[in-house]
């Protein structure tokens, strides 16, 4: 009886692992195969596709563009969300429901609808936004907002910010000093987790980039989608890079969460 149940569990977990890992492994193998569409095993291995795809100038440009957008979004969100969350926790608890409302909205707006809404409104406003990377960063900030807010708010909940704030102020620290020297170091794991979640979300973002800026500011996922129509083997090398960036960022988040103990709850999805 006990054995039976154990077997059931092993089968379920093995099937799940296979489903999750085989697409990734197959893509890796495909990217180093001479040819792999007629036989069960690849017809020889080669690095030709990797060479070809990484030697194009567009490879470097799009990768750089994606890093620029990801880092800009990450820093802007960290600077916007951290002081806001701290201030709401310490001084305006009644503002929290409104903040949370604004951080839930992005879950309810499909990327295509957000792009449409931003284009429709900002094409009527004389600001340097429409068709520029600026609007892309703003849109990415919207969709990544919950990923930044949740870990930071959870980290603030986990420490006694009132005692820390009072202690800092009774020792003569001003508001900025309290925040930068006392609060921020204490919630650092939450901020870093948030930043990494934002980074991996924005780095992989295709819909907004495609609809808001398209070919004017090509990002890495746009480059990848172009290649899937044009040369599968080179596209597979680009897909592997995206997989690896996403996996590395996530593993870093898990590692930070595991090290800090408490901020394990800071992970967005939980």
């Amino acid at each position: 009886m006990k054995n039976d149940r154990g077997i059931w569990r092993v089968i379920v977990l093995a099937l799940f692992l296979t489903f999750m890992i085989v697409p990734f492994l197959a893509t890796v193998l495909f990217s180093i195969s001479v040819r792999w569409d007629r036989t069960i095993f690849p017809e020889g291995l080669t690095l030709e596709w990797w060479d070809k795809v990484t030697s194009r100038s567009a490879f470097e440009t799009t990768l750089t563009n994606s890093f620029i957008v990801s880092f800009a979004t990450m820093f802007a969100l960290a600077l916007l969300v951290t002081p806001t969350a701290y201030w709401a926790h310490i001084r305006v608890p009644r503002g929290k429901p409104f903040i949370e409302f604004l951080t839930i909205i992005p879950f309810g707006i499909p990327g295509v609808v957000l792009a449409l809404a931003l284009i429709r409104f900002y094409s009527t406003v004389p600001l340097p936004l429409i068709n520029t990377p600026n609007i892309l960063v703003a849109a990415c900030m919207v969709i990544a907002l919950p990923f930044m807010y949740r870990p930071v708010a959870n980290a603030l909940d986990a420490i006694d910010i009132h005692v820390l704030t009072e202690a800092a102020q009774s020792l003569g620290a001003g508001l900025w000093q309290t925040m930068w020297r006392v609060i921020v170091p204490n919630i650092m794991p939450g901020i870093v987790s948030g930043c990494l979640l934002v980074f991996s979300t924005v780095f992989a973002e295709f819909t907004l980039a495609n609809l808001l800026v398209g070919t004017r500011f090509k990002t890495f996922p746009i480059y990848l989608v172009e290649f899937t129509r044009f040369d599968g083997r080179q596209a597979s090398a680009l897909a592997v890079i995206s997989f690896v960036v996403a996996w590395l960022t996530s593993l870093l988040i898990i590692w930070i969460a595991g090290r800090g103990g408490r901020p394990a709850e800071a992970l967005g999805a939980r």
Binding site: R9, V12, L13, F16, L17, F19, M20, V22, P23, F24, A26, T27, F30, D37, R38, I40, T84, W87, R91, V92, G95, F98, I99, L102, I104, I105, P106, F107, G108, P110, G111, V112, V113, L114, A115, L116, A117, R120, F121, M141, V142, A204, F206, L211, P221, L224, V225, T228, A235, L238, A239, S242, F243, A246, W247, S250, I253, I254, A269, R270
Partner: protein
């Protein structure tokens, strides 16, 4: 009296500290969405439902039917299989296996879009490795049984991010099932099946329904995976809206706005339902 008003003005000032955040939210969430609402409901300033009537052409109706079917199918399969896998994860005694698979779910749940679509072409495309393997044992997927470049194919690809999301959502609820409840049920003569049907599932129901709604919304709003895998071949709401944004917004913006409003309506129902059920589940746990 003076003190009270001073207190009041200080709270008022404190609210000012939240101003940058609220300004951001108003500028990039509220106002753009309200622009869509207004434009979809008016024509030259006069209130009308004509844009919604125009959105009810057979092509757009079909896109909603396809999107809803795809979202419902992947959400249902995600809930069923996700819960089974999550149950296997929480009941395993091997700590390493538990942590590693939870980490895998964490890593993969945000993974979608172009690389995922491409990986599935490599595995299940017309010359994919699994397709070839199945051919060897006499199962011919192509050209009639299965195509990855179709709604069937999208269902399989979407499960790649739906399953891990459900696993992460349901693990806390599964951990909340107390061992004593099971023991009590078994001692009172219940079979394991009866325990699941009469005790565990009713307790899990809000989380499962909430999970279904969130997965539904997750699939309904997805675009990148569908676009990479099937291009304009599969008629989904998001594919239609994107086509309007890319080409025809200048020509007929109000039509795009009406479609967007309809999809926002579906999404809002799902996310609001999820929030409500989530609140109930949390209260229940206390």
């Amino acid at each position: 009296m003076a003190r009270a008003s001073k207190q009041k003005s200080r709270t008022w000032l404190a609210w000012l500290g939240l101003a940058p955040f609220f300004l951001f939210g108003i500028a990039f969430e509220i106002i753009p969405v309200l622009t869509l609402v207004r434009s979809s409901l008016t024509d030259k300033g006069i209130p009308t439902l004509m844009h919604f009537e125009r959105a009810l052409t057979p092509m757009f109706v079909e896109s909603f039917r396809n999107s809803i079917q795809l979202s419902a199918a992947t959400a249902f399969l995600g809930v069923v299989f996700g819960t089974i896998v999550a149950h296997a994860i929480v009941t395993t005694r091997n700590r390493f296996v538990r942590d590693a698979i939870t980490a895998l779910a964490d890593v993969t749940t945000n993974f979608g879009g172009a690389p995922l679509a491409f990986a599935f072409i490599v595995v299940l495309g017309s010359t994919g490795v699994v397709t070839l393997l199945l051919k060897m044992i006499g199962v011919n997927l192509y050209p009639t049984t299965f195509r990855i470049y179709s709604i069937q194919g999208l269902t399989v690809a979407y499960l790649y991010f739906q399953l891990p999301l459900m696993i992460l959502l349901v693990i806390p609820s599964l951990l909340g099932l107390r061992r004593e409840w099971r023991e009590a049920a078994i001692n009172l003569g219940a079979s394991p099946a009866q325990y699941w049907r009469r005790v565990a599932l009713p307790i899990l129901a809000p989380s499962l329904l909430g999970g279904f709604l969130l997965l539904f919304a997750n699939a309904f709003g997805a675009y990148a995976t569908a676009w990479t895998l099937t291009g304009p071949d599969v008629n989904l709401v998001t594919v239609q809206i994107a086509a309007l944004v890319r080409g025809e917004v200048q020509l007929d913006p109000a039509l795009a706005d009406a479609l967007a409003m309809l999809s926002l309506f579906v999404m809002t129902l799902c996310v609001a339902g999820y929030q409500w059920l989530g609140g109930r589940a949390r209260k229940g746990a206390r």
